[in-house]
Structures are given as structure tokens and as C-alpha cells.
Symmetry: none
Subunit: 249 residues, 2 copies
């Protein structure tokens, strides 16, 4: 679809703010690692890695956005109707970031080594299946709704499985947390559901009609989800381990 | 509008100096964090994050400036009249940097945790509303003065609300500062008013006439405001916490 100048600029803006935020917070997380007991340092470092990886992917989406439209009269017209701009890079990037984010949770809760590996693996398997089935389905976003929906449902089944595994890790987190920090894992749980839940909404959105507004709102939703599920999540986990390392001495 | 070669070069130069300064000071603020008591380290680190994020946004404005004009005869003509170069990226970036700058103030003054969160939230809400209403209004900068003015006024209402909240934090800052540093919060207050006050002036400027000079002066004003409200402000706060951590031992 063609975009108005306002829609085009909003899209660039949203993508630019997202990659800027991700890159800038690399510094925050590296500096944070300094303040922590050695055993927890890896938690903000993982966030720094996620920031770098997601920042690069979002910068790619940004350039793609810039390159995919040309100004004709007062409207920005796609260079190749329906096939130029794609969100597919996001899904590729999730394959890297999502396993890190999930493992980070188990590490922050200080699970002992063999359990950590088992729990991480049991979260990563459904997560990767969720992403890849979703990636396959999202190529239907330009109008093939049955493809979008069938693969969306399959992907959601893996999402539910993932949620069950994450719930298990949260329960262990409550057990391992010092008494003063008991409330944190539960709050992280609600935060996880609210932020990861935005992705399927953004995925399904094109069915509301393939208009310029939908294209832009979708980028907005993805970006809010990205900033909260990676950046703010990272801040929360870093603060949790900061308290925890202070309490544990 | 078309720009003379001098105007075009000045604009590039101003933007280039701004992003260069922001990037370079990342190093300064990271090194500064080293010198401080652990509880204040976060203050210069937040400045480093702001530098990185604003640097990226200004580099984007710089590239956009370069791409938006072509040399025709002796004049730089916009590739698409009135619609190509835009300041909108700045507003997007403020959404990230402004909440950090405000929270940084409350942290530097060493407010205790629950109060810190409450005060930060009460500053961030009007600040974000101010930015977003301003962003919406600035799309009127190419000639829709009523849009520019109405949304400018709405945005100013939020600015006034923000000023009241900041004033509250300054007052607390005077109370929590060691006796030798009592004057600092008040000076920061005046500095805050003077530098943040430049933004609405730059916003309103196009109404003086949409000439090449106005376009360039506007970049100059924005850049002065950026360097003072982020970079110099960061230096001031870092020096304040340096003294404070020396006094507190
Ligand atoms: C349920 C569902 C999905 C869920 C995606 C999620 C939950 C993605 C999370 C991504 C994160 C957290 C990335 C961070 O880097 C898809 C694949 C959109 C397809 C439609 C169904
Ligand atoms: C009052 C007012 C404005 C105020 C903007 C301010 C005060 C921006 C501050 C930005 C900072 C400090 C950025 C640092 O990164 C707008 C939005 C221009 C719109 C017109 C009315």
C-alpha cells in the first residue's frame, strides 16, 4: 500500500527510535555488569548481547523501510507492490534473542547448573518452533489469510507450551529468591505475559485491512513489544540480581 | 525551501558537530563512572546512554539533510518540496532521552527508593505527553500554522506541568544536599529552564517565514539546546555527584 508522508515518517521514526534505544542501552548493561557479584554478571551481559543483535536487526528494518518506498506526488509508493518491505528479519533475529532472553531468566533465578540446562532447553525448543512456524506463516501477510491463520494457530500452540515451561521457571524463582524479593518473580511473570502477548497481536493485524495506518500501527506494536520484552525486561532482571547480590553479600 | 551553498554547508556542519560531540562524550561519562561511589555510578552511565541514543538520532538527521537536497545550479534544492527533510526524528529520540534525563536528576539528588519512583513517574508522564503532542503539531511546520500553534499550546500546558514537578524535585534536592552543595540544585534549576526553554522557540520559528536562514537557525537552536540539556547537563550532574560522593566518603 502507498503511505502518506505522515505515515511514512512515523514508520521511519518508530524504527529509528527502536534501534537507537537498543544500541544505547548496550552501554547501560555493560556498566551494570560491573556492579554485580561475579556469578550474576552474565545477566546484564546477555542483555547487552541482545541489545546489539536486536539493534542491528531493527536498523536493517529501518533501512529497508527507507529503501522500499518512493515519493510519487504526495504519496510514498512501494517500489514493488506488496513485496518489498517485510518483517521477516525480525523473526530471524528472534531465533537468536529469544533463547538468550529465556536462559537469562533461569540464570537470574540462580538455578543450579544441571537444572538450569534442562529448564533452558525445555523453554528453547517450543520457542524456536513457535518462531519458525510463525515466520513461515507471516509470508501470508500480504493477503494469504489462510496461510497466516493456520500457521499462526500452530505457532500459538508452541507459545502455550512455552508459557507452561516459563511458568515452571517462575515457580522455581519464587523458591530460590531471598524472602525480600519473593514478589519479583511473580511480577516478572505478568510482565512476560503482557509483553510477549503483543507479538501475536501484531502478527494478526493485517487482517483488519491492509491500509497505511495498519502498516504503521503494526510497527508501533512490534517496537513497543521489542523495547519492553528486551530492554525493560533486561533492566528489571538486572535490578533483581543487583538486589540479590547485595542481599547475598 | 532551496538553500544557498553557505546555508546548506552550515546545516551539515551544525548537525555534524552535534552528533560528533554526543558520541565523543560517551567515553567521558563512562570514565567518570569509575571515579564515583557505587550508588552514584548510574548517573554518568545514564548520560552515556543518552549520548549514544542522541548521537544516533543526530547522525540520522545529518544523513537526512545530506540526502534531502540536490545541487541545481548554485542552489541546493529539496528533492521533494517541503516534505523530505524533517525534524521528526528528534522528537522520537526525546521519548527515550527525556525520561532518562529526568530520572537522572532524582537519582543524583539521592532520593530514597519509593519516593524516587513516584517522583520520576510524575515527571515522565507530562514530559511524554508534551513530546507527543509536540510531535503531532510539528508536522504542521511546513505551513499549517494553526496545527503548529494549537498543538504547540497543548504541549506547552504539559511543559508547565512538567516544570512544576521538576521544581518539586529541585526543592527535595536542596534538602538532601550536603551543606556545601546547597547552591547546586538551584543553579541546575535555572540551567534547566534556560536550556529546555530553547525547544519551544525552535518549534515556533518557521512562522517567522520559511526561508533558508530560518531553516539553518533552527538547526542551530536545536543543537545548542541538545548540547546543553544533555551533554553539559550531564557534566554538571556528574560533577555534583562526584563532590557528593567525596563528601559522603
Ligand atoms: C504466538 C505467536 C507468535 C509469537 C511470537 C512471540 C511471542 C515472539 C516473541 C519475541 C520476542 C520476545 C523477541 C525478542 O527479541 C508469532 C511468532 C508472532 C506468530 C503468531 C503466533
Ligand atoms: C513546550 C513545547 C515543546 C517542548 C519541548 C521540550 C522542552 C523538549 C526538550 C527536549 C530535551 C531536553 C531533549 C533532550 O534529549 C515542544 C515539544 C517543542 C512543542 C512546543 C511546545
Amino acid at each position: 500500500v502507498s503511505l502518506t508522508a505522515g505515515q511514512y515518517t512515523s514508520g521511519s521514526l518508530i524504527l529509528m527510535v527502536s534501534y537507537g534505544a537498543h544500541f544505547a542501552f548496550i552501554l547501560f548493561f555493560l556498566a551494570m555488569a560491573w556492579q554485580l557479584a561475579p556469578r550474576y554478571r552474565i545477566v546484564p551481559i546477555m542483555s547487552a548481547v541482545v541489545m546489539a543483535s536486536a539493534g542491528l536487526s531493527l536498523m536493517r528494518e529501518f533501512s529497508l523501510w527507507q529503501e522500499s518506498y518512493e515519493l510519487v506526488g504526495t504519496m510514498y509508493r512501494p517500489l514493488a507492490e506488496n513485496s518489498s518491505f517485510t518483517n521477516a528479519f525480525r523473526y530471524g533475529n528472534w531465533t537468536i534473542t529469544v533463547p538468550i532472553l529465556l536462559t537469562q531468566l533461569a540464570i537470574a533465578f540462580g538455578l543450579p547448573r544441571p537444572e538450569l540446562q534442562k529448564r533452558a532447553a525445555r523453554m528453547i525448543v517450543p520457542a524456536v518452533l513457535m518462531i519458525w512456524t510463525g515466520l513461515y506463516g507471516q509470508f501470508g501477510e500480504t493477503g494469504d489469510w489462510s496461510r497466516l491463520n493456520i500457521w499462526g494457530v500452530i505457532s500459538t500452540v508452541f507459545f502455550v507450551w512455552l508459557i507452561v515451561e516459563v511458568r515452571g521457571v517462575i515457580t522455581r524463582g519464587v523458591q530460590t529468591s531471598p524472602a525480600q524479593l519473593q514478589a519479583w518473580p511473580k511480577n516478572i511473570w505478568w510482565f512476560f505475559l503482557a509483553t510477549w502477548g503483543l507479538y501475536p497481536i501484531a502478527y494478526a493485524l493485517p487482517q483488519l485491512g491492509f491500509t497505511g495506518d495498519v502498516v504503521v500501527v503494526r510497527q508501533l506494536l512490534f517496537s513497543i513489544a521489542d523495547i519492553s520484552s528486551k530492554l525493560i525486561y533486561g533492566i528489571i532482571l538486572s535490578r533483581y540480581v543487583l538486589r540479590r547480590s547485595a542481599l547475598e553479600g
